[in-house]
Amino acid sequence: MSSRILCAAFGLALVLAPTGQAAAHCFVGARFFPATLVTDDPCVADEMSLPTLSFSSANPSGRENDVGVDFAKRITENFGITVGTTWTFVRPPANDATLGTSASGFQNLDTAFQYQVLKDAQHEFALLAGLVVEWGSTGAAGVGAPPWSTLQPTVYFGKGFGDLPDNLGLIRAFAITGQVGYQVPTTSFDLTNQVPISQNLAYGASLQFSFPYLKSNVIDLELPNFINHLIPIVEAQFLSPVANNDGNPWITTGTVNPGVIWVGDYFQVGVEAIIPINRASGTNIGAIAQLHFYLDDIFPNSIGRPLIGSAPPPQKPFGD
């Protein structure tokens, strides 16, 4: 009993312990990691994506349109929760039992519980651990929302290349982010379709070139102001069945998403193409666009702050 209490206290201490000064959305040293569109950035933050619009052929024989909303809130300086939902129109319906040529409705509710493990300012490195939960039976079967829940422990990272030698020039403006998760459904067998429900490896990454970083930390080329707010990016996301998949095809699905993000003071706008990696992932190129708000900048004294605790008091720069 006492060991359980000790473990709980240790866990609470971890959650409440600050890792650094208030920086809120994803600043790590001189590096800013923007909110990416199909993967997740490596920081807890107070942010909201409203809306995320996508048009794709994720349904191999038809098309799918999605309108998504995500709201991320820091509970403490290092622990945050994200809630997201997506309204989907799909043709033909994803579920054979659905009548008609199309279907629409909400996908299952998603929730992510995330903890900021590390922010290394000098090396522009961030590490985040989380548990993503898709809540079964909260969405419409006709758009493919399953009746079972899925638990997905996930690790996220981000690394800027700004700590490379100065003579590498433009390369220092690049950064990568990535995530690896393991999907475990709460049910192992789909009684409706008489097939096992696979456990999957869900992974993705992004390669990004930051013009804001280039201008502020590498070389000011006196480019137009609009260009200096751009972060060209290539994202990729994949899903590979790894267990309990007998009778189903062992095919990795995924997309590669080249695009660009414009970063402002209070919000960002991102646009990417969605390119399926094989026919099982889709048959046509789609697109995704997102308007994303930095709540910590818009409401710095209310919903832009952690609910519990406060950031450490500001320090004198350089220990002066």
């Binding site: 000064q21 208030a22 920086a23 809120a24 600043f27 040293g29 001189a30 409203l50 809306p51 909303v69 300012a121 100065d166 804001p212 201008k215 502020s216 930390n217 590498v218 070389i219 000011d220 006196e222 003071d265 209070y266 919000f267 708000f293 930095y294 910590d296 900048d297 818009i298 409401f299 710095p300 004294n301 950031a311 500001p314 320090q315 004198k316 720069p317 350089f318 002066d320």
Partner: protein, 114 residues
Amino acid sequence: MRKTLLVFVPLLLSGAAAHAHAFLDHANPRVGSTVRSAPSEVTLWFTQKLEPAFSSAQVRDSSGARVDQGARVDGMQIHVPVKALSPGTYRVRWKVLSVDTHTTEGNFTFRVGQ
């Protein structure tokens, strides 16, 4: 969704209650530039007003020795007088706190006479 946008858009347009992170807008000497004659001061311009007590900058030569003579914060600017600079590469490090309590930092180099 429409109601939420009705709340956000006027706020974003007015900017009345909001203060963003302070980014380095530009510097003199320019980030990554080479200047023929040594400057007597490095000046940094930021995108937001700074908290003077918690904002500063330093200039160091290629051996890591400081060549600045302190820093003075003035609104959205930091002025860093420097000693007489000989030809070489110098690194400017800055760390600032904007008025909304968000910290940002960065560093860059410039060269003199090379």
